[in-house]
Amino acid sequence: MSKTIIELQHVYKKYDDFTALKDINFKLNQGEFYTLLGPSGCGKTTILQTIAGFTDATSGQVLFDGQKINDIPANKRQLNTVFQDYALFPNMNVFENVAFGLILHKVKKAEVAERVHDALKLVQLDQYANREISELSGGQKQRIAIARAIVNRPKVLLLDEPLSALDAKLRKDMQYELRSLQQNLGITFLFVTHDQEEALAMSDQIFVMNKGQILQKGDPVDIYDEPINHFVADFIGESNIIPGHMVRDYEISFLGHTFECADAGMRPNEPVEVVIRPEDLVITTPEKGKLQVKVSTQLFRGDYYEILAYDMQDNEWLIHSTNATTDNAIIGLTFGPNDMHVMRYNETEAKFNSRLETYEE
């Protein structure tokens, strides 16, 4: 139904001896919330800057509304950016900052006042029009930066790690606000972050990146439950990753035991990795457990205990449990077939997706 607003085709970005982006392809639809997620230096900000026009792609095409915009300068592109350090002009007050883009576009005075007021109202700071930037708190600066970007009514809003400078509590609040703002405005958000929690909480679609490539795209639940490889599994959420091999479809062997699992489509005896999320492990008595581990340390995290344990082969196990156990105790761990996710080595996203289709309904 919704139409493509931004498309990247085979985009490369090369510096002298370093390739920042390798063959980036994606389409963004109108009105959705997208996140580029990856560790620092993975190229996510470079993608944002290529779309915004602050840097040129070495090769490949950037399309906006079906038109190639590679050669259109940043000040002529119909999209706006919220910067990591907010980039509010210190020589202007709040009103002047938000009005900046409108005044440049020669919007009439009365309309400027009205639109600035509306934008500030949207971020709940309509009382702050006459404040100086230096008098604002971090969270307020954040909102002004958003107001300044949306007042021009862009079709796409680019957000470059906008929450990274805020404290934990404020960041959570802003996650709700950003999400509802995006839904109210109905415009496309492209959000860049290295914080997987943020990405999972807000996005319609996530692109997981590493080393200049997009490794996996999908909705948050898919990415969390079915990571394509070790990197994605490790980067998104906490996980126990154990090497093993497929005995046959729906049967996997690791740590000397064979278990029933929910994955298929691999060669018999193919070496694989198994992911089990800490919250999917259930503690029982050693006799009832599928595995026996020895508790090493446990940390109380408020809503759960985080338990660090080691099995007989000295592999580390991370367990989330609502109940405490005893240090140095031997405990049993159980998990169901659906709690395990099997990953092949070096599987591309296309092959991964088509394999999943063969056995998932």
């Binding site: 800057q49 915004a52 026009g53 602050f54 300068p73 940043a74 000040n75 002529k76 592109r77 706006n80 950016t81 910067f83 990591q84 350090d85 980039a87 509010l88 002009f89 210190p90 020589n91 007050n93 900046f100 883009g101 440049l104 576009h105 009382q127 029009a129 006459n130 404040r131 100086e132 008098e135 300044r148 970007a149 021009n152």
Partner: protein, 273 residues
Amino acid sequence: MSNRSSKLGKIYIVIIFLLLYMPILYLIIYSFSKGTTMTNFRGFSLTHYGELFHDKRMLAIFLDTVLIALLSSVFSTIIGTLGALGISNAKRERSRQTLLSLNNILLVSPDVIMGASFLIFFTSLKVPLGFWSVLLSHIAFEIPIVVLMVLPRLDEMSPSLINAATDLGATSGQVLSRVVLPFIQPGIIAGFFMAITYSLDDFAVTFFVTGNGFTTLSVEIYSRARQGISLEINALAGIMFVFSLILVIVYYFIENHNLVSRRKKDKLGVANQ
């Protein structure tokens, strides 16, 4: 630090401050003396100031000096600011470093070298020595200090500020006039004032390139001082001290002005709501 050593420290700086200011106070006190030497103070009088104000030659030199200082500062501030923009825009770290080292050559060169080399330069280009050669020299040695005053502000400016302005639709010219220049304005003002002081303080370079017809205060003081004590110079020192104080005060006023006026405006805005 213990009490005793901090007390010693305070005594120490008081002594050094006394030494630092003694010659200046000494000069000014004797400018009010009735006598004609800087030895016995012979009672208060303003005769030397009177003499100074009737000394047409001295007044003309004073005006020339101020004119040179203001003109050279304006030009050096413009050129230096453009230079700082160029250096900060240099893509490669290497070219930035090269530009900076070249920039600083005149700052570290001994005055006589600067004077001598400018003298050769002007004579080989057949520029007549006088007002223009002095003005050009002053512009030349003021430029690097302006660059050094403006550059830190430019470095402080987050690149995303420029990106943000462009993102909101500003052209390169608008980015410069609405975002960059207001941001580096304190550095530009500081550079302008430093340029004025460099100009007023210079003796050696002017001495070399001034020729016969044109003189600045420094050169005049030098030639009079070589002939011995004249309390008219003391009176001049008094006036120049006040002049420097005014410059300092004006500078600090301008530096704080923006902040203060913005705060005031803000208070009014809050009151209106």
